[in-house]
């Protein structure tokens, strides 16, 4: 299967096989009017199988959330057909609207229009807590 080379854009590589659509939805790629390719189950010497997403424009996207969802992902930035930068992701300090607080006593369970928000409290052990009630985040 051949997907054409990008002139300008992003390549999200090393996505855990099967999580590509989740990433696609999370980044809101369905809203874009540029070309976006989702490749499922591509063969990978290191991973066996992986998913890949190619985005055909350099637009402002917040990739930090990917560090939480699938920390092995790499983001290649392509300009004029050449890779000019390879980003490795780290855990973001804050997560907005990515995971829901499951604590029924938390204000986020009832307050209108309040985004669920978590902060990184322990980078080593990848622990996030709700900014409102301090409940532990459950991994996706």
């Amino acid at each position: 299967m051949i997907i054409g080379q990008l002139k300008d854009g992003y390549v999200l590589d090393h996505i855990t096989a099967g999580r590509g659509m989740e990433i696609y939805d999370l980044l809101g790629l369905g809203e874009l009017d540029c070309s976006v390719a989702m490749i499922k189950n591509a063969e990978s010497p290191k991973m066996g199988l992986k998913d890949i997403i190619k985005i055909g424009r350099l637009i402002d996207l917040d990739f930090s959330v990917l560090g939480y969802v699938d920390p092995g992902i790499t983001v290649d930035i392509i300009r004029d057909g050449k890779r000019v930068e390879k980003k490795r992701l780290t855990l973001p300090e804050r997560l907005y609207g990515v995971i829901r607080c499951r604590n029924p006593r938390c204000i986020s369970s009832t307050e209108q229009g309040l985004a669920h928000e978590f902060r990184l409290t322990d980078r080593e052990n990848q622990i996030y807590r709700c900014v409102y009630c301090d409940s532990l985040a459950r991994r996706r």
């Binding site: 604590n103 006593r105 938390c106 204000i107 986020s108 369970s109 009832t110 307050e111 209108q112 229009g113 309040l114 409290t121 322990d122 709700c130 900014v131 409102y132 009630c133 301090d134 532990l136």
Partner: protein, 305 residues
Amino acid sequence: MKHLIDIMELSVDEIDALIATAEDIVAAPEKYANVCRGKQLATLFFEPSTRTRLSFESAMLALGGGVLGFSEAGSSSAAKGESVADTARIVGCYADIIAMRHPKEGAPRVAARAAGVPVINAGDGGHFHPTQTLADLLTIRREKGRFENLTVGCCGDLKFGRTVHSLVSAMSRYAGVRFVFISPEELRVPDYVRSEVLDAKGVAYSEVLDLEKALPGLDVLYMTRVQKERFFNEADYVRLKDTYILTPEKLRGAGPELCVMHPLPRVNEIDVRVDEDPRACYFKQVKNGKYMRMALIMMLLGVGP
């Protein structure tokens, strides 16, 4: 703009400053009688709490300010479905500072983002109650003269007791503090307090079952209520409930300088005969709470004598 939602948002220096102000209020209250003249405190109590609300109101009145507010959600616009953020934004147009109690955890943080005036968390469900911890800290400082190198016993419900968790977090910042946690197996200090506070800061602690055996080594004893509803097994509750009733007989084994504290209200975990013991400090805690709330209101409003 500064708020107080979690006691850990105050630095050690800020707590020292609040304590110094509170001590000065005790020494010369007349100096502070007009520092909040023309200022309004709104007490937004979405669930009843007579003592905490009265403490805040008494504090503001003693500073020469005014108070307004409500004492239950039914008499607020929350009953009509208004959000916490909207309520806070509107009250922020009337008042200079807000003290909020709410059954939902994190509600005061939502209010703080919207109000446009300082917000004090006066208790959010089972989560935080930072001004209780300020009262506890002033009591310890006044009774023991220091925070460093104290052995603090915490007894009772250490799993769900928010006052214990906040006190442990706040005291863990001082050198040489040791904790003795006295509780039934079912109500031990939660794992996250051990891993994220005690172990993370290298604080020494032990966990024991027997209150009487622990008493002789303590400088401070922080009693809490063992709550029946927390037990899965009625027999366990019956077996354990009387273990943690502090009596004059049990206190015989404690040191003469022990400071006995309790966030109140108590049910039966401290025998009323202990009230006459000079080591009983829980009613002093109530007074200290008012002084620290006065100091806090001044700090957040940026006013002074």
